[in-house]
Symmetry: C2
Subunit: 208 residues, 2 copies
DNA sequence: TAGATTGTTAATCGATTAACAATC
DNA sequence: TAGATTGTTAATCGATTAACAATC
């Protein structure tokens, strides 16, 4: 378990989890790497290699138990514990995250939103209160927050990110169109970059 | 130009574009692969290799003109033309896309939203009208739509996707938590998978 | 010109795929 | 047992990095 897991494998793990959840919902209890590979458009080899980064969850001649493998990968992803979140920026992206049913179902619980707009402060989004940015430091002192969702406009992102870092936030899910890095400060960041994703679609349209 | 460009390169192109836009805003007119590499945390080699997939835009001893390179990469990404979009699903994700300022600035214009919820039909989101799903086929006949944004719940996604395919949509930006593939039907799909992104963050938190 | 930096080829590194003995 | 399929090692493939001649 202490062995190195490549970024490529990490990115595929949620896909396994999602397909195993689907299989479970379909009532499939057992599956081989061959069949799972067909479903996910991957080679059986890759699936076995990926899974074996975390242990031998299969049985020769049989395959994998869907529910067992789902649970194991869920554990590897940290989905068997609850995560608390705050959302900074109560605009349309922040609001979308607050409403997203999958996050809630998987145990990602939003404690509060924060915004600078007086028209938003004091309102609530999906039952969660919007606070002023001034309340952020005290809130973070008083609550154990696992993840800060950064959903402010690009030109404010670095400043707000620094503020979050000062307040001791250790994990940031960033929707602002800037590259944030802070491994050297011990902060884990995942950048979403929605515009980048749309632009790759634009590229594919232009070159087909 | 007809030569093969790997998926890895395509995924990096929007990052180049974004950083060049930032540099331009800062008033920087010229940059070397060394300096750009430092800024983007990539090797100069990789930057030169990537850029040279599309032509020699640099000058020896000098580097790259920021505005020229930005324009060239923008062209490669297809950002020098307007794209028309429809958004299927007027929930919080669909609404966030309709509001996202970067898309509007880069020439992605939303013509209409579609939804099944009678409470939403007839309203407007950021000035764009929400139609019923029944109006979709006629709308697509009467309007040239480049991209359909799929922002419906996961359990409806495949059905709606098939409907889009039947109506002749050729590019889909998918936010539903299912893997859609339709190269064989000539449809270009980019899957966003927000929950997957959050789960990789969860993984990194669990393993640090 | 001398110095800097590209474009491009070659070397390295890592990720994917294939193969197969182990075993259910 | 015979057949199927894993876990794992070896081979291949592709992507990244290094090197350097060309040249601005």
């Amino acid at each position: 378990m202490a062995n190195y897991v490549s970024e490529a494998v990490i990115r595929r793990l949620p896909g396994y989890y999602r397909h195993l959840r689907e299989l479970e919902a379909e009532g499939v209890t057992q599956i081989s790497s061959k069949d799972l590979g067909e479903r996910m458009r991957q080679t059986p080899s890759q699936i076995r290699q990926d899974i074996n980064c975390f242990g031998g969850f299969g049985r020769q001649g049989y395959g994998y138990s869907v529910s067992e493998l789902k649970q194991e990968i869920g554990h590897v992803l940290g989905l068997d514990r609850e995560h608390t979140m705050i959302i900074v920026g109560a605009g349309s992206i922040g609001s979308a995250v607050a409403h997203y049913p999958t996050f809630i179902r998987e145990g990602f619980r939003t404690l509060a939103l924060f915004d600078t707009d007086p028209a938003r402060i004091g309102t609530s989004v999906n039952g969660v209160r919007v606070h002023s940015m001034e309340e952020l430091p005290l809130f973070l002192e008083e609550h154990a927050v696992d993840i800060a969702v950064l959903a402010v406009p690009g030109d404010a992102a670095r400043e707000v990110f620094d503020e979050l870092a000062r307040c001791g936030v250790t994990a940031v899910w960033n929707f602002a169109p800037v590259d944030l890095h802070a491994e050297e400060r011990g902060i884990t960041v995942v950048n979403v970059h929605l515009a980048d994703s749309l632009q790759t679609l634009s590229y594919k349209i232009a070159h087909r």
